[in-house]
Amino acid sequence: MPATDTMAETEDPLVRQHRLRQQAAHELRRDATVRIIRQTVTFVVFMGLLAALYAGYKEVGQAIDDRQHDWPVVGSVLPRTDDLTMPPIGKIIGQFGETPGGEDQIYVLILLDEALFTLREAFAGFMVGLVIGMAIALALAQWRRLEQGLLPFVIASQTIPLIAIAPIIVIWGRKNFDVFPWEWQDWMSVSIIATYLTFFPVAVNGLRGLQSPRPENQELMESYAANWSQTLWRLRLPASLPYLFAALKIAATASIVGAIVGEISSGVVGGLGRRIWREAFNYTTGPDRLFASVLGAAALGIFVYLVVTGLERLVVGRQDKGATA
C-alpha cells in the first residue's frame, strides 16, 4: 500500500479539507504570477511588433521615395515617411534619455514630474467623482422616480464638450471658489474636469450594481429583518463591486484624459497636457519630443488602469473567497 493512501485514510476530513484548500490557494497564486509574466511578455512582444511595423513602413516609404512620387497608399492615404512626419524609432526612444536644451534633467524624468502633476489632478478628481457618482447611484437606486427624472440630466451632462466647460471652470475657480478653507489653485479646477468625467460611469454602473442582487437574496435579507443600511452593506454594495470596478477602469483613464485636456484648454501651468501642447508648438524643431511626450501620457493611462485592476483583484477576489468559505 502506498504511503499517501494511508495518510489520506487516516487524515481527519477537516484537516484534509484545509490542506486541499491551501493547495488550491497556492496554485491560484502561482497561476497569478504566471499570468502576469505571460501578460507582460505579450505586451512587450506586441509593442515590439508595433515598433517594427512603424520602422518597416518608414523603410518602405524611404526606399520608394514617397516624397517624389505619387504612390497609391504610402505617403498618401498613410502618412509620409520623412523624419519630420515620422521621426525614427531610435530617436524617439533615445529622446527619453536626452536632456533637452534649457532643461537640467533627462527627458524621462521631466515626463515623470509632469505625469505626477497630472496624476495628482486626476486622482483628486477621480476620488471626488467616485463619491459623487456613488451618491447619485444610491439616490437613484433608492427612489425610482428620481431615476426617471435625474438620469437624463446625468446623461446630458456628458454630451457637453470638455473644451467648452474647462475654461469656464478655471475662470470660476479663480473668482468664486474662495469659500473653501484652503486656497483654490488652478490644478484643482482641472480636477473638477476629471471629476466630471469620472462620476458618470460610476453613477450608471453603480446603479446597475446596486440593483443587481437577485430578488431571492433581497427577500432573504428581508426575512432577517435587515434594515436599509444592513442590506446596503451586506448585500447591495458587495454585489455592486464588479460593476463598479468595470466603471472605475473607464473612469481612471478618462480622468487622465480629462486632466490632460483641461491643462491644454485652460492654461494651467504644469502637467503632461501642458508638455504635449508645448512640444506640438515646437514640433518643427523637435518632432521626436512630441512622440515621446505622447508615449508618456499613454504610459500614465496604462499605469492607472493597472492600479485599478490590481485593486479589483484585491477587493473582489477577497470577496469571492469570503463568499465561498
Binding site: 509620409r80 519630420l84 534649457g102 474647462a166 491644454i264 501651468v269 506640438a280 515646437n282 514640433y283
Partner: protein, 371 residues
C-alpha cells in the same frame, strides 16, 4: 403622503438656495495700501508679454501701489470674456479679438494700444517666387483660422484676388512643419514666433540652419492690411462708475509701459525675466529673438507708447468691416486715450523716453531649436 412630498420639495429648494447663495458670494472690494490686480494674457508666457513680467519682477507695479497677478492664456481662453466676466481686472488682447466680442455685447474698452504694428507674416520659400500678395494666386496658402486669417484675406482682396476661389486655403497648425514639408506654398507666421522657429530649424539640404535668404516674406504692414494687435483692455462700465478702478487703470498702464520702456533699454535683462517667469514654450534664444521683434512692434511709438494711432485704428476697422469680422464700425467707446495719456505724462515727468525714436533692432543669434 402629500405633506411628505411638500417636505421633499422644500428640501430640494433649500439645497438649490444654498448652492445659489454660495455662488453669489461676491468678493470684498476692500483695498489696503497695496491693491491686488490681475492681468489675463492672450497666450502663454513669452517675450510678447515681457513688459508686464518686467514691471512685476522689477517692482514697477509695487511702486504705484499694485500687486499684479499675471494669468496665462491658453487655447480656449478668450481674454475679453475673462475680463468681462470679472475673472481678471485687465486683459491683453489683439484689437479685432477685443472688438468682436465687444460688438456682441461685452462691455470692454481698449485703454492702451501697446503694439503699433502687426506681427503677422506670410512666409514662403524664395524659389516659390511669392514676393507679394498677387503672387499667391493659385497657391496653397496656409493660415491658422480662428480670426488669424483676416489680414491675409484683406491683402488678397487688395490685389483683386478672392480668398475662396483664387487660392487654395489650407488649415495650418501653429508651427511651420507644413511649409518645410512642402504641403503649403506660403505659411502664416508671427514674426516673433513661427518665423523664428523656421530659422531655428536645420535645412536638410545644407545641414545648417535655414537662413533668412531662403525665404520671402509678405509683411501686412507694408501691404497696408495690417490690423492692430496687443492692447490693454479694461472693463468699460467700471471705468465710468468706479473712480478707484480708473485710478488703478492709470497706475497699471503707467507701470506696464514703464516695463516696456525698460525692456527696450535693457534687452537681455527682460529676456532673462521671461525665461525665469514660467517655462516659456521656446527656449532662451527663441525668447531673445522674440524680445527683439516685439520691441520693433512697439518702438518707435510716434504718439507716445500706448497711445492709439488713429490711422492704424481706422485701417484695422476698415479691414474688419470689409472682411465681415465686424458688422459695423464700433462706437467711440471702443478705445480711449485719456488713460494712456495720463500714464505717459507721469512717465515723461519721471524722465522716461516714451517715444523711442532712436530705437533700432539688434542682431540676435539664432540657435537650433531656440535654445
Amino acid at each position: 403622503m402629500n405633506i411628505r412630498r411638500i417636505w421633499r420639495l422644500l428640501a430640494v429648494l433649500l439645497v438649490f438656495g444654498l448652492v445659489a447663495a454660495s455662488c453669489g458670494n461676491d468678493d470684498d472690494d476692500e483695498f489696503q495700501e497695496i491693491q491686488d490686480v490681475s492681468l489675463q494674457l492672450q497666450w502663454v508666457p513669452q517675450s510678447q508679454f515681457a513688459g508686464y513680467f518686467a514691471a512685476r519682477d522689477l517692482g514697477f507695479y509695487e511702486d504705484v501701489g499694485l500687486n499684479v497677478t499675471i494669468i496665462d492664456g491658453a487655447v480656449d481662453i478668450v481674454p475679453a470674456t475673462v475680463l468681462d466676466s470679472g475673472g481678471a481686472d485687465f486683459a491683453i488682447s489683439w484689437v479685432p479679438r477685443g472688438l468682436v466680442p465687444r460688438e456682441e455685447g461685452l462691455n470692454i474698452t481698449n485703454i492702451a494700444q501697446v503694439f503699433q504694428r502687426s506681427g503677422t507674416l506670410q512666409v514662403s520659400f524664395v524659389d516659390a517666387g511669392i514676393a507679394g500678395p498677387a503672387d499667391l494666386e493659385g497657391k496653397l496658402v496656409g493660415n491658422w483660422g480662428f480670426g488669424n486669417e483676416f489680414e491675409l484675406f484683406a491683402g488678397l482682396n487688395s490685389v483683386g484676388l478672392d480668398p475662396q476661389s483664387d487660392v487654395t486655403l489650407v488649415q495650418q497648425d501653429f508651427n511651420m512643419t507644413a511649409l518645410i514639408l512642402g504641403d503649403i506654398d506660403a505659411a502664416q507666421a508671427m514674426i516673433y514666433n513661427e518665423y523664428a522657429q523656421v530659422l531655428e530649424t536645420i535645412n536638410p539640404d545644407t545641414g545648417e540652419l535655414f537662413q533668412p535668404e531662403d525665404f520671402s516674406v509678405i509683411d501686412w504692414n507694408d501691404v497696408g492690411t495690417a490690423m492692430l494687435q496687443d492692447a490693454i483692455w479694461a472693463d468699460a462700465d467700471k471705468l465710468e462708475t468706479d473712480a478707484e478702478y480708473r485710478d488703478i487703470a492709470v497706475r497699471f498702464v503707467e507701470a506696464s509701459l514703464r516695463g516696456w520702456i525698460h525692456c527696450r533699454d535693457n534687452f537681455q535683462e527682460c529676456v532673462d525675466i521671461v525665461v525665469a517667469a514660467s517655462p516659456p514654450f521656446g527656449g532662451p534664444a527663441h525668447q531673445a529673438w522674440m524680445m527683439n521683434e516685439i520691441n520693433a512692434l512697439i518702438w518707435p511709438s510716434p504718439g507716445g507708447v500706448g497711445v492709439m494711432d488713429q490711422a492704424l485704428y481706422d485701417q484695422t476697422i476698415d479691414v474688419a468691416t470689409t472682411q465681415g469680422i465686424l458688422a459695423e464700425a464700433p462706437d467711440a467707446g471702443a478705445f480711449r486715450t485719456d488713460i494712456a495719456a495720463e500714464a505717459i505724462a507721469n512717465l515723461e515727468a519721471a524722465g522716461h523716453d516714451v517715444y523711442g525714436n532712436d530705437f533700432a533692432r539688434r542682431t540676435v543669434e539664432v540657435k537650433e531649436g531656440g535654445n
